[in-house]
């Protein structure tokens, strides 16, 4: 999935990009509203993050134009303006959510996943209903997993990793295969990216992250799900 990030602050723009890439999105970056509209038309992203106060065309107007062009793409406003009228205005323009600065990585990831989940639920080609890995039930369309009463949020990349392991149950999935399938062919992640991601994912889905039962490490080869 491709996400368009429109934010005039350089550091924040690239910080958000890194967060989105970790989630498994390809990113397209714009530094002002006019660039955002141009990139939207050219790149046709699957998701849009808009800052409100940008040079040139502001985020509200960008949202309005995007809605006129294609009405279903998920849009999240990211802004420092927290006044109620601003929130209402943002949401009445057809945005799907509104995140107020300051926020951390977890907040934006949680919001992103929530909107993506709603989007996937209404997509024309919805993901398979669910699959199980041990006592963990994974629901791709919801971007969630459940273990009994416990509910675990998942990102697209998390899903991709688990789906790959599930489909290759019993076999070792190499690091390169992970990169190709879950990071994309045009990505050049470093080796640590996969390990970090797996580490973070284990913390959320394993009963005992130090003794993982779902994502097992095969040293020197990759990872495996034994079923």
């Amino acid at each position: 999935m491709k996400i368009l990030i429109a934010e005039d602050d350089h550091h924040l723009r690239h910080g958000l990009a890194e967060i989105m890439r970790k989630e498994g999105y390809d990113t397209v970056l714009a530094g002002d509203g006019d660039e955002a509209l141009e990139l939207f038309r050219r790149e046709q992203p699957d998701f849009v993050c808009l800052d409100v106060m940008m040079p040139g065309t502001n985020g509200y107007d960008v949202c309005r134009e995007i809605r006129q062009a294609r009405s279903t793409v998920p849009i999240i406003f990211i802004s420092a303006k927290s006044e109620e009228v601003d929130k209402v205005l943002g949401l009445e323009l057809g945005a799907d959510d509104f995140i107020i600065k300051p926020f951390g990585v977890r907040e934006v990831v949680a919001r992103l996943r929530a909107v993506a989940r709603r989007y996937r639920a209404t997509a024309a080609d919805p993901a398979p209903e669910s699959f199980a890995m041990g006592d963990l039930e994974i629901f791709p369309s919801e971007l969630r997993a459940r273990r009994g009463e416990q509910v675990i949020d998942l990102g697209p990349r998390d899903l991709a990793v688990l789906d790959l392991l599930h489909r290759r149950r019993g076999s070792v999935v190499s690091r390169d295969t992970f990169f190709d399938v879950c990071w994309g062919l045009d990505h050049v992640p470093n080796s640590r990216s996969l390990d970090q991601h797996i580490s973070q994912l284990r913390k959320r889905i394993e009963k005992d992250p130090k003794s993982p039962r779902i994502i097992r490490t095969v040293h020197g080869a990759g990872y495996r799900y034994d079923g």
Partner: protein, 537 residues
């Protein structure tokens, strides 16, 4: 000027002026009335004196008529001659006391014009015996020697009052005279004072002698009453001139004249008071406006500063968190340092959020944004954020989730409330070394309890701690940082949710603690059609 200010202006300026004006006018009116009463009493006495003068004049005329008629033969010639010689007597007459027949002037005689006029004027008196009741008196005696010996008979003819004086002459006859009207008026006027500006009181009033129709017969005094003025005193003359009256007009009284004087006297005073009150009101309004402008500027500045802080703070947080993830399990010192950066940026975020919430609270624009979600997830995420900071303070965090069903609530608001409570635990209850958070869900009511094992809250401060800027002053809290607005905001957000935030007694389900805050929320279930999907007040 908005309606509120208009109402305040009316209340503090117009109402006092109206009250003072009314009281002043009333007081002045009473004073004027008392002064008029005193003057009226004096003038009544004066008018009675004039009446007595006129009465004395009539008595003197009566005596002179009797004296003049004494010894005069009762023949027409003698009586005509006497009439000519008595200017005061317009016409003499003689009536037979027994029959009431007019003996003189008699229709049997050839009468001069004056006597014929007299007869024409007085025909009713003689033909209808109008004089007889007078002669008979109240006892109703027959015409004879019984009854009054003399009397006056007033009657009206043509242009006004006429007077007849009669007396019994002892010869079985009633003798009388119709007084000459003009001569009578002239004599009455002569008995009354002239206008003399130097005379005491004459410059401040006027006395009028009025006839039966109210026409002025005579008046004296310098003061000229205006049309529509009414007299201060009115006194009808005594018999036989009871149809006439004396009236006294005082300068400045009647027809509101005295009133006008009082009001004109009051106006400068009321005007001065109005200027003073309006000036004070304007001064206080200006000062109040200035304070409000200053306060608005301070709020705007705070908003602006907070707004400007947000983006750099966001960058600090996300890059610190990204770096934390990069380090993974390595670099303990670096992770610790990063942990501090992350925790402090989160703390700074909460402070800014509190300040902005407080600003909206003061402007009464604090609102919720409900979304479908799970309270345990929101609380859990917040606790994970706080865990490193709590551990730094040596506080063990316990969490017992019990609100796992989706409901409609404002996750940001709930996290802000719980964050404020945990922040207070760090500041005031770290000595207890433990904080337990529990959630419960019963229908649409969600309860979140945060219980610590610190020193607790003194009895007298259990409600005061929810007041903005209030911070308990004691050895434990002096020197503790903080703005004092966290609990006020937390309670407002809780109440916006249809619930409340209270300092409760220790729950038996949670291990004994120093202070236990209970947050209750009204959260419609996700299945409720009215849940969510919009802001709510």
């Amino acid at each position: 000027m908005n309606r509120h200010l208009v109402a305040v202006f009316v209340l503090i300026v117009v109402v006092p002026l109206v009250i003072v004006g009314w009281l002043g006018a009333r007081l002045a009116r009473e004073q004027v009335e008392r002064a008029d009463e005193r003057l009226a009493e004096v003038m009544r006495s004066s008018l009675r004196g004039f009446d007595a003068e006129i009465g004395g004049l009539l008595d003197e005329r009566a005596r002179s008529l009797r004296a003049a008629m004494d010894g005069v033969p009762r023949t027409s010639e003698a009586l005509r001659d006497l009439t000519r010689r008595l200017p005061v007597a317009g016409q003499l007459f003689v009536v037979d006391a027994a029959s009431g027949e007019l003996l003189y002037p008699s229709l049997m005689d050839r009468l001069p014009a004056s006597e014929e006029d007299f007869l024409r004027r007085t025909r009713e008196i003689w033909t209808r015996h109008r004089l007889l009741p007078e002669v008979a008196g109240e006892g109703g005696a027959e015409l004879g020697e019984a009854g009054p010996r003399e009397g006056w008979y007033p009657w009206f003819w043509g242009d006004g009052l006429r007077l007849i004086f009669w007396w019994r002459d002892g010869g079985g006859r009633i003798v009388g005279a119709e007084l000459d009207r003009l001569r009578l008026l002239s004599d009455v006027v002569a008995s009354l004072p002239d206008t003399d500006p130097r005379a005491p009181g004459q410059d401040a009033g006027r006395i009028r002698l009025l006839d039966a129709q109210g026409a002025v017969l005579y008046q004296w005094g310098v003061y000229e009453p205006a049309a529509g003025d009414w007299p201060l005193v009115s006194h009808p003359l005594g018999h036989p001139l009871a149809a006439w009256s004396l009236e006294y007009f005082a300068a400045g009284s009647g027809s509101g004249g005295g009133w006008r004087g009082v009001l004109f006297g009051l106006l400068p005073g009321i005007g001065g008071l109005a200027v003073l009150v309006i000036g004070l009101a304007f001064y206080f309004y200006r000062e109040s406006s200035r304070e409000m402008r200053d306060a608005a500027q301070r709020v705007s500045f705070v908003n602006q500063v907070s707004h400007e802080l947000k983006t750099p703070l966001t960058n600090i947080r996300i890059y610190a968190e990204l770096l934390e993830e990069e380090l993974g399990g390595k670099g303990d010192a670096a992770r610790r340092h990063l942990g501090v950066i992350v925790a402090e940026s989160q703390r700074l975020s909460r402070m800014i959020l509190n300040i902005l919430s407080f600003s909206r609270r003061e402007r009464r624009t604090l609102e919720l944004r409900r979304r479908i979600g799970v309270v345990d997830e929101a609380v859990g995420a917040l606790l994970e954020q706080f865990r490193p900071s709590l551990e730094t303070h040596g506080i063990v965090l316990g969490f017992r989730p019990g609100a796992g069903r989706p409901v409609s609530f404002d996750a940001d608001a709930v996290q802000q409330i719980v964050a404020n409570l945990l922040s207070n635990v760090e500041k005031y209850a770290a000595s207890g070394r433990r904080v337990d958070v529990a959630t419960e869900q019963a229908g649409e009511e969600i309860t979140v309890t945060v219980a610590d094992r610190g020193p607790g809250v003194a009895e007298g401060e259990r409600e005061r701690i929810f007041e903005p800027f209030y911070r308990p002053s004691n050895a434990l809290s002096d020197g503790v940082t903080g703005t004092g607005i966290g609990l006020a905001i937390a309670r407002d957000l809780a109440r916006l949710h249809g619930g409340d935030l209270e300092l409760a007694a220790t729950e038996s389900k949670i291990p004994r603690s120093g202070a236990c805050f209970r947050l209750t929320l009204n959260c419609p279930s996700a299945l409720n059609p009215s849940a969510n999907l919009g802001d709510s007040r």
